[in-house]
């Protein structure tokens, strides 16, 4: 019998991920490993991990990585890539890291057209610190620092990072995907592969924004969080290619 779906070597064989049940961080990390394996880049990859749940997989993944200070992943990745241009360098960041504390580094790296790849996990909330409001939190969505839910007059509106970066000239590829169905998981995989290939081809800045759930901090079980993701998150954050200069 032939194994037609195998666990990627990007994950350590005997380690269980530290993520909560149903958390799609795990899904994306698995996909990155699969893509690196398929592209024969596992020994050439350097992951730059953001702070928060993003760092939870440093001992789950099996290849080179650097933990960046909170929000600084795009600056750290810039340094790594410019100093050693042959490496495949990607950042792995959540919404607090990429869109709040790291907004300056994120937009500036995109604006320079740095030849790096950003994997941006948007679940609309701070995970590791316990469900505080993020720039991507939906209107009305409750957070531990917005107990009445996000209110536009007080907190402003959810930030759409793909669309913000799409105002810049330099970025090469921006796509928003999700992991809510097997079909979308496969689309996410394809987008990650394309973003990595862009970097190997020297095309410049690519980002895949992946809209995911956070069952624990949304306070929903895995099935209800899937429903919330489908009905609410994907309405606010429609999926698709925002820019593809290829």
């Amino acid at each position: 019998m032939e194994k037609i779906y195998a666990r990627t070597k990007g994950l350590r064989p005997d380690v269980v991920s530290g993520f909560c049940p149903g958390c799609m961080h795990s899904t994306v990390i698995k996909l990155i490993g699969e893509v690196l394996e398929e592209m024969n880049q596992m020994d050439n990859a350097v992951a730059v991990l953001g702070i928060g749940c993003c760092g939870l997989h440093m001992e789950y993944m099996s290849y080179d990585n650097v933990t960046a200070p909170h929000g600084r992943a795009c600056a750290v990745a810039t340094g790594i890539k410019r100093a050693n241009s042959k490496s495949l360098v990607y950042t792995y960041q959540g919404d607090g890291d990429f869109a709040s504390i790291g907004l300056g580094e994120s937009v500036s790296a995109a604006n320079r057209g740095e030849n790096i790849t950003v994997i941006f996990i948007n679940n609309g909330i701070y995970g590791m610190t316990g469900g505080q409001m993020a720039p991507t939190t939906l209107l009305g969505m409750k957070a531990s620092t917005a107990p009445k839910g996000r209110i536009a007059e007080e907190h402003g509106y959810p930030m759409h990072m793909c669309e913000i970066l799409n105002q810049l000239t330099a970025p090469y590829y921006l796509e928003r995907t999700s992991c809510n169905t097997p079909q979308n998981v496969l689309k996410t995989r394809k987008a990650i592969k394309k973003a990595f290939q862009n970097q190997l081809d020297g095309k410049g800045f690519s980002m895949v924004e992946i809209v995911t759930s956070c069952p624990t901090n949304w306070g929903l079980d895995t099935m209800k969080s899937l429903d919330y993701l489908n009905e609410k998150m994907l309405t606010e954050y429609p999926l698709g290619v925002i820019r593809d200069n290829g």
């Binding site: 933990t67 750290v76 810039t78 340094g79 100093a83 050693n84």
Partner: protein, 358 residues
């Protein structure tokens, strides 16, 4: 060796390039702008990379990334900008990433003044960021020393896998002096230095978890964290035993000993010579490394003979005074001669301070 006439900031940048520095990221702030400006012209000539970061915060993190690949890397700033870099410096120290940075310091606190000052002593030597880490900190008193220290700093950084700070006041950074530059390291030597870091650098490794490049500015395991802290503490102790640099000038028979570093020491030295010409027994202890601090040199003075210590610094309140006190241990009075806010220490002020004590 050719003597050239150079501004302190530019001389620091050239010395770094000659030491094999091939990556610099920085952000404009007075009075150190000539460092990034010089690098922006010079690094492309030698196949290096210069980036003007979007902030001091981004710049230090670009250096953290570049140095994580084993490339000799540097940043620079001035006092308030150094505060912004403290997060990244702490990360470099935690992850044991060798890098060099210069603080061409100015008046403070806050935005302070753009003129020279020595008001970052405690920040530089005691707490350059969270977590109790330390660095070797060199304090040049001449442009030549700034050159030699910067050149050597990269070796110390690589030896220890730790950041090294050139604590350079705004006077040294902006004045021009004749200097002799060290020999430029060749490409082969620079490549060999980088190769020496391959085992830990984040450059991609053959798939083997135990041997991967893993740049860790922290760990989930408290046991691993404490072990890292203990190793760092042992390294700091070793500096105190082996790496202290100090100049002792006419202290053998001195009854009044000044302690000063950087530009203040240079002025104090002039004052020593003035008084010595009149037969007055005045001497100077000049910390060259302010961390590790030359406690021993001050501790071992003959306090039967030394009547007073005079701490001379461009900082109000005095900061180095704390280290001086630790070494004097109450065996004689310690007086201060201070200025701040961007005022440069005047020879006359030091002359007067000494006159009152002898």
């Amino acid at each position: 060796m050719e003597r050239v006439f150079m501004k302190g900031c530019e001389a620091i940048a050239e010395a770094a390039v000659r030491a094999g520095c091939r990556f610099f990221a920085g952000y404009p702030i007075t009075p150190q702008n000539e460092i990034p400006e010089y690098f922006s012209r010079r690094l492309p000539e030698v196949g290096g990379v210069f980036i003007q970061g979007e902030s001091e915060v981004a710049s230090i993190n670009m250096v953290y990334g570049a140095a994580s690949t084993g490339t000799r890397s540097m940043t620079s700033s001035s006092s308030p900008g150094i505060s912004l870099k403290s997060e990244g410096i702490s990360y470099c120290a935690a992850a044991r990433i060798p890098m060099v940075y210069a603080n061409v310091s100015r008046g403070g606190p806050g935005v302070g003044s753009i003129q020279p000052a020595q008001m970052d002593y405690l920040q530089a030597t005691k707490a350059s960021g969270n977590g109790g880490f330390k660095m070797m900190v060199f304090a040049p008193a001449t442009v030549q020393e700034a050159v030699d220290m910067t050149f050597a700093a990269f070796d110390y950084a690589d030896r220890d896998r730790n950041p090294v700070l050139i604590l350079c006041d705004g006077v040294i950074g902006t004045m021009m002096e004749p200097v002799v530059m060290p020999e430029m390291k060749g490409d082969a030597e620079i490549a060999a230095i980088k190769d020496g870091k391959k085992s830990w650098a984040a450059i991609g490794h053959e798939l083997d978890y135990a041997k991967r490049g893993w740049i860790q500015p922290g760990n989930w395991s408290t046991a691993v964290m404490q072990q890292g802290n203990e190793e760092a503490a042992a390294m700091y102790d070793n500096w105190q035993k082996n790496d202290v640099q100090v100049e002792q000038y006419k202290v053998e028979d001195a009854e009044l000993v000044m302690v000063a570093y950087g530009i203040s020491a240079r002025i104090a030295k002039t004052v020593v010579d003035k008084y010595r010409a009149d037969g007055k027994k005045v001497g100077l202890i000049r910390p060259i490394t302010v961390n590790p601090f030359p406690y021993e040199a001050i501790e071992n003075l003959n306090y039967g003979q030394v009547k007073t210590i005079l701490d001379v610094e461009m900082s109000i309140p005095a900061q180095m005074l704390q280290d001086v006190s630790l070494a004097v241990k109450g065996r004689c009075p310690i007086e201060t001669c201070l200025c701040s806010g961007g005022n440069i220490m005047k020879k006359e002020q030091v002359m007067d301070a000494v006159a009152k004590l002898i």
